[in-house]
Amino acid sequence: MLNILNSILVEGLIYAIMVLGVYITYKILDFPDLSVDGTFPLGAAITAILIINDVNPYLTLLVSFLIGAFAGMITGIIHVKLKVRDLLAGIIMMTALYTVNLRIAGKANVAFFSKDTIFTKNFLTSFFAEGSEKVIRLVLIIIIILLLKLMLDAYLRTRSGYLLRAVGDNKTLVTTLGKDMGFVKIVGLSLANGLAALAGSVYAQKQGFFDITMGTGMVVIGLASVIIGINVFQSFHFVKATTAVIIGSILYKGCVALAIGIGLGANDLKLVTAVLFLVILVFTQEKRRKVNKNA
């Protein structure tokens, strides 16, 4: 039981890194970004190769973030500069990344079980008794997600962060303020996909392998978590949206685990993921696409 709880928390919190990114694109920018299905495994592929080549596991986190951010930037450029619709820009990127990920990893599945990761030897080991790897793993992930959350909160309070929020809120005003809305969107997409790749990197290090199918369903997990989080905590004004979506991610993971636990097999995972998402959409009546046009 404790083990199940631990793994729900660990997975939920790792996905939460990506969920913070989806929060930026979907909730703040009002941009349903499908590229995360590709940038999550991108982070995992980069991590697999770097770790096999004995690169410092913490450095792989940074590299994954940066390359993920670069991919997000390209999605943004496709949308903003080439004027491709948001959904389509994401689909193009997601499809292209499938090949890129295969090329980076060299094959569809790369294992690195025997290598050091952020979860083997780390600064926490000395504080815990031997044999408490699972606890250490959880503590480390909690530290990572807290750091990221605080950094994102801080960013959203900067001038650049204000502008990002304004783009989702009122595009016209951003132009009226003499700012290039397209550029802000590109920044937001970079940040979001950097986070998705970072999540992929942490996930791969936890699993000890990269798999090309890792990213399938990430968009759904991300959107579902954001929507659950925001809706559950809607009436609690003291809970920040970033906190809400992290908890949303754990709740969603819990729901999926529950569904699997009551008899559905692991093969049904994606179906459960999708159906659960549908249920959430119907229940919360999530209204998409606020249209604001010039009068």
Binding site: T158, R159, Y162, A166, D169, T172, L173, L177, G178
Partner: protein
Amino acid sequence: MLELNQISKYYNPGTINETCLFNHFNLTIQDGEFVSVVGSNGSGKTSMLNIICGSIPIEQGQIILDEKNITNLKEYKRQQIIGRVYQNPSMGTCPNMTILENMSIADNKGKPFNLMPGTNKKRIDFYKENLKKLNLGLEDKLEVKVGSLSGGQRQAMALLMSTLTPIRFLILDEHTAALDPKTAEIIMELTDKIVSEKKLTTIMVTHNLRYAVEYGNRLIMMHQGEAIVDKARSEKANIKVEDILDRFNQISIECGN
């Protein structure tokens, strides 16, 4: 000085719905002018403002600002020196951001949007002072989201925000149209106060003929993409509401109504 030179604007060019709105349209606006623009629905007032701001492309002609050709300058770049308030009160503010955040973001116009704090604490008193001038009590609601304010309150904020930083032009498109008569009056007086205090060159579109006559030092009447009346200074000062009404009636007779 702003010059519109031989502007031609077609809607839906190259299709069967092609319509020509402006055909070699000319207009010069001198610094310090406060221009009221009137005209029937569809006469091209909003289109003219959109052309000045670069919100819509034109087929022909040039837009010259202080002897510089800005015809191909992107909208957001032109907006760096233009303040604009729209007819729709929700266009000028961010509903999910607080009053303080809205004031801050407006105050940062023209500054780099970098990693400095979004709200400069030292400026809060300055924001309060400005909000106080609106007489709506907004200075005590800094942490309230703008989305929960009424249309009039939002429009007042939009006006304040658009003129918070130094601008070269103020563009107002029926900015009192969605407001009740009393609030409209307050906003109009505030507009006049801000314009004269900051000596702003202003273009104001309005359907309220009294405002057009009472405020500003130049009056333009648009009809089918042309400025059919254009009176400045003393000529403008002598215009009465009845004169414009007469002209309106004359037009509709000419059009066969």
